[in-house]
Symmetry: C2
DNA sequence: CTTGCGATTTAGAACCATTACAACTTGATT
DNA sequence: AATCAAGTTGTAATGGTTCTAAATCGCAAG
């Protein structure tokens, strides 16, 4: 049933663009994400896709999610799988995470930018904190 | 040596403001963060403070870090300890994490706000992705 | 076809950051 | 000194994720 949500060709195409194959497992995992867009965890996806492919394993769900992230069809919200890092800088600032070295840098965050960002929240959302995290590379001319 | 960096009175004061006591362990942990501001992990802090208090335990380092976060002297960069969540929404958007229910919501991110945010990056920082995460409560009138 | 081969899936073990627990210590208050 | 709460410690447990090795799949060349 949930398989009616996706266009398997575009999925296959996106996977192929990243050098990956399409598989029934990847289809049902992607379909599970599209059917109920509630930011499920890997475990929750696992629970949902078992009705489509009862033999699927949790490891495969992780593999499929990683494949979907890799071909830019899905975003991982809590990207950082590593340990929590601690920062004593109390001034408002964003973080830049260098994916090559793993280093984290503070990026100054002007208050008018911060207030612009918080202004995107519709009424009813009461934010106590905002985290802005860039990921990418740093170049020599820094 | 690293203990020369902090003003123990202000630390004690901040802790007291949150109903917490000052302890030698909390002092050296905080001092370790101030001395080398490289966003260390709990393990790295543990390694550094052992030269100050050789008997300190990793559990205490976690406790101290949590105390410092609680009294707003330190920020935890990868706050989300829970499982990674997956999101098939490809449009630029921020995330709002409701701390009461654990639910995650997409927040529309106008492209002009996004470009303002990325504009804070100094030259030499090449961001491939930006994550903007709000944390807080949602109210009834949403 | 069919054989070969790399990619994928699977089950289960291993890993690692973090938390829980229970005993012990400390330190402020009476 | 006695009390009591808060903090520390070592260790065990937890839980999300990754690893491993074996089985399977599916395309591609012969």
């Amino acid at each position: 049933m949930s398989s009616s949500v996706i266009n398997p060709e575009s999925l296959a195409q996106k996977l192929a663009d990243s050098g990956l194959r399409n598989t029934p497992q990847r289809e049902v995992v992607y379909s599970a994400l599209l059917t109920k867009r509630d930011h499920p965890t890997a475990d929750e996806v696992y629970a949902r896709v078992r009705s489509d492919i009862s033999s699927i394993s949790l490891a495969t769900v992780y593999n499929c999610l990683e494949a979907l992230v890799q071909c830019h069809l899905v975003r991982a919200v809590n990207f950082e799988r590593g340990p929590t890092r601690y920062c004593p800088n109390l001034a408002p600032h964003a973080h830049f995470h260098d994916e090559a070295t793993g280093a984290t840098f503070d990026i100054d965050l002007p208050s008018e930018i911060l207030s612009k960002v918080t202004s995107i929240l519709p009424p009813g959302y009461d934010a106590e904190a905002v985290d802005i995290i860039f990921r990418g590379k740093t170049t020599g001319t820094r």
